[in-house]
């Protein structure tokens, strides 16, 4: 097999250790990189071979967990989702995500994000509490109703939208694109009846009206969630409710699941004989 050509790339990483100093500094590392290598791979290389004290958060390596959000070449990315080659620079600058407190090196504290996420009550709220506790039937939902909020369910809570948002840069109390998008996601869910509770928060001083549609959150979102769209649609919902344009919202009716399911299809016949294969192999 042909050997992959290696290219030396300089990594400038913003270091911060609160136990030593309150100030930050840039540390430089030279990493041999190959095609397809991600920024996270480079950070792991540095930790394993050059400086084991480097701190960063990582888990899944496939843009699902949202742990490795960081500012790469002055743009928020997931490190595992960013190939070094696509950056097209000989020097890669890696910094912690802005607008979130830094614990050490590239590790930011995501608790403000989770606290705000919890504030918008990210769960189904219904008036018929006994039915929620002991369900007797299913909540019917059409594919169209599902599609009206499905996009916003892909949020991995990485904090990238908050670091991209210019309002979050100055207003620490601002709910932020992540929480507001989730607020819309649950308010639009046809099974949910918690609109009134969430609107109180969304319509507050630190709520939705502080978004001025810079669009950076949607631009930077690594999962294509588009929080800016959710926020503008939530604004429309709020205005429509305040002016009574949309009228009263009907909740999804309960539908008893079918008792008799369709007859099962017979299991397909194997086209390859296992024994023959084993003998040949």
């Amino acid at each position: 097999m042909k050997e992959l050509s290696s290219k030396n790339i300089t990594f400038k990483i913003r270091r911060y250790n609160p136990e030593k100093s309150n100030k930050t500094h840039f540390a430089t590392f030279v990493v041999p990189t190959t095609r397809g290598m991600t920024v996270l791979d480079a950070l792991l290389y540095i930790k394993e071979n050059l400086d084991s004290t480097l701190a960063f958060r990582t888990s899944c390596r496939m843009a699902i967990c949202g742990s490795c959000g960081m500012l790469i070449n002055k743009y928020p990315h997931l490190a595992c989702h960013t190939q070094i080659e696509e950056l097209k620079t000989k020097t890669v600058t890696v910094e912690p995500l802005p607008n979130l407190p830094v614990i050490k090196d590239l590790v930011v504290d995501l608790s403000p994000l989770f606290e705000k996420h919890k504030l918008v009550k990210p769960y189904i709220i219904r008036a018929d509490r006994p039915e929620m506790d002991n369900p007797t039937a299913e909540f019917a939902q059409s594919p169209e109703e599902l599609e009206s909020f499905l996009q916003f369910t892909y949020c991995v809570k990485c904090g990238i939208c908050i670091s991209a948002c210019p309002t979050s840069a100055t207003d620490k109390q601002f709910l932020g694109p992540q929480a507001l998008a989730q607020c819309y996601r649950y308010c639009t869910d046809s099974r949910d009846d918690g609109e009134r509770e969430r609107f109180l928060l969304a319509d507050s001083e630190n709520g939705i009206w502080h978004c001025h549609l810079a669009g950076a959150c949607s631009d930077a979102c690594p999962k294509g969630v588009d929080p800016a769209l959710a926020i503008q649609l939530l604004k429309r919902q709020l205005v429509a409710r305040a002016t009574n344009l949309l009228g009263k919202r009907e909740l999804t009716p309960l539908v008893t699941p079918p008792v008799h399911s369709k007859p099962k299809l017979p299991f397909p016949q194997f086209t390859v004989n296992d024994k023959t294969d084993a003998r040949e192999g």
Partner: protein, 146 residues
């Protein structure tokens, strides 16, 4: 809300408004909207100060008018017209889009992702084009008309 363990504050502050980084055009339209808004506010303050001279002696008023005939003030007036044109047009775009119109519908995120602002970029480009046209018309007036 729970205050985190003593950590380095990493808020961008006002720089977060100004610095557009590698973001798309809408992020720069946002910055320009703020800058033109502040410019118009400054114009109103200067305008208020100048018009108070009208209530004073005639000499003060004429002296103020003399200063305003300075070419730099003429350039400032031109910039104010541009700021008005851009701020009002972009303001209209924001009112329409902030009410969820022209933003499209939620769609399953399939790579490469195209967010709603990218899908409705033609409106932003139309806005920039109209503002540029107004700028050129007034530039002609500024250069030729004096």
């Amino acid at each position: 809300m729970r205050e985190p363990h003593p950590k380095r504050k990493n808020y961008l502050g006002i720089m977060g408004w100004i610095w557009g980084g590698n973001y798309r055009i809408e992020r720069y339209l946002y910055t320009l909207h703020r800058v033109t808004g502040l410019g118009i506010l400054l114009f109103f303050l200067v305008h208020l100060c100048v018009t108070t001279f009208f209530r004073m002696q005639q000499q003060s008023w004429e002296a103020a008018m003399e200063i305003l005939h300075n070419p730099w003030f003429k350039l400032g007036e031109y910039l104010v017209v541009l700021a008005f044109a851009y701020h009002s047009l972009n303001g209209l775009r924001l009112i329409i889009q902030e009410l969820g119109f022209g933003m499209g519908k939620p769609a399953p995120p399939i790579y490469p992702y195209r967010d709603s602002l990218r899908k409705s970029r033609r409106w932003s480009m139309a806005l920039v084009g109209t503002a540029a046209l107004i700028a050129l018309v007034f530039l002609y007036d500024f250069l030729v008309g004096g």
